[in-house]
Structures are given as C-alpha cells and as structure tokens.
Symmetry: C2
Subunit: 119 residues, 2 copies
C-alpha cells in the first residue's frame, strides 16, 4: 500500500506488446504496455477493457472504423468487440481489465504472453 | 465507444468532493473528483479503491501513517482499511472502483453523495 509512479514503472521495461502488472484490486488488474506497430485482431468474450494513453498515440481499429487516442485519452472496448491496436511510434498505455483477461483474447499468436510479469 | 479526454472531463465541473462517473466496465467505474481540504475518515468494507492523481498532490492519511501522491502516482487502498484523503490545494483524482462503492463508505456525512453524476 505505497504510491506507485506510473512513469517510473514504464522505465523498468523495454519489451513491446508484453504487459506488466502494477496493481490488482477487486479481481481487476492495472497493467502497463509499450506498443509499436500492429497488434492482431482479437476480442475478449467476457471482459471489457480500458485503454488509457500515457505517452504517444494509439489507433484502435474496429471492423467498421478507427478511433485515435492521444495522451490523456481513455476508451473502453466492450466485451465481444473485435479490435486491433496500432501505433506508428512507440506508445505507452495503461490498461484496466479483469485478472482473467488475455491480451490476445482467444487467439494464440507469437505475441501471446500467458503470464504477465509483476513490476 | 469513443475516446474520453480526462482533462476535458475535469473542465465540466467545479464542485469538490462530488465524484463524476466517466466510464463503466466489468461492474467497475472510473470516476473523477476534485478535492481540497480534509475529507472524512472512512473505509469500504468490500471494495478496494484505486486513486490516481492527475493534478496536484493528495495526502492519504492512514491511522498509522500518511502517504503522499503526486501527479502520475497511483495507489490502491484495500477494502477495510480506514483512510482520509487530504489536499492542501485543489487536487484532481481519477478513481477506479466497483460500481457499488460509496465515497464516504458507511459514514453518512454532509459530504456524502449517493448518486454520482455521469459526465
């Protein structure tokens, strides 16, 4: 039960598309991710997912449109909605989601990380 | 399912100690609060509560110590732990907590707001 500085936590890792868990509460987790390039199309059947951009710009592609999130913007992607995060330059994102959420949904992919590191 | 700019949402209200809900997911809510001065001692029997400082400085008093959160710091206060938020100057805070959470816990107080406005 100590303050956690989000930017300092980002300084602890360089790996992209590899979420780190920084807090846990009410069965939910706060994770940090560095992303660059294109992720894969996926959805989460039972979990809504919140993205909050800390640095850079994140494009969230949906099947019918794209939303752009800049620093200080957040967005909830509801369960069951296919999405693909894309970032032209490295983007730092904080996510809130259930502990059970897998970042590639049901898709098994080279980018899939099954156990998030805790930092 | 649109991006939400957190600072723009803070511009929509001036009232202190009066949380506004900006998003809902997985039975949890994202709320914003402007705080200044001393809140009241309270706890939440069944809910962990996350505080994330967007502007200013928040002191979180516990019965045995005080933690200081600056901009970019977050902290989880676990269920059942008595706490009292204090801010010498106006501080803007983003909170993540279950929909069921009452900001004054079981304490009924002049500051108690039973229904959060959605902005």
């Amino acid at each position: 039960m100590k303050p956690i500085n989000v930017l300092s936590k980002f300084d602890l890792f360089d790996e992209q598309w590899s979420p780190r868990r920084i807090a846990e509460l009410n069965g939910q987790q706060v994770i940090l991710a560095k992303v660059e390039g294109e992720f894969i199309w996926h959805d989460h059947k039972d979990e809504d997912e919140l993205f909050y951009v800390i640095k850079g710009t994140l494009k969230m592609e949906f099947r019918d449109r794209t939303e752009v999130l800049n620093v200080g913007d957040l967005m909830v992607v509801p369960r069951g909605v296919e999405h693909k995060p894309v970032a032209q330059e490295e983007c730092w994102v904080l996510l809130f989601e259930p502990m059970s959420t897998k970042h590639t949904g049901d898709v098994e992919h080279a980018k899939t990380v099954n156990e998030y590191k805790v930092i």
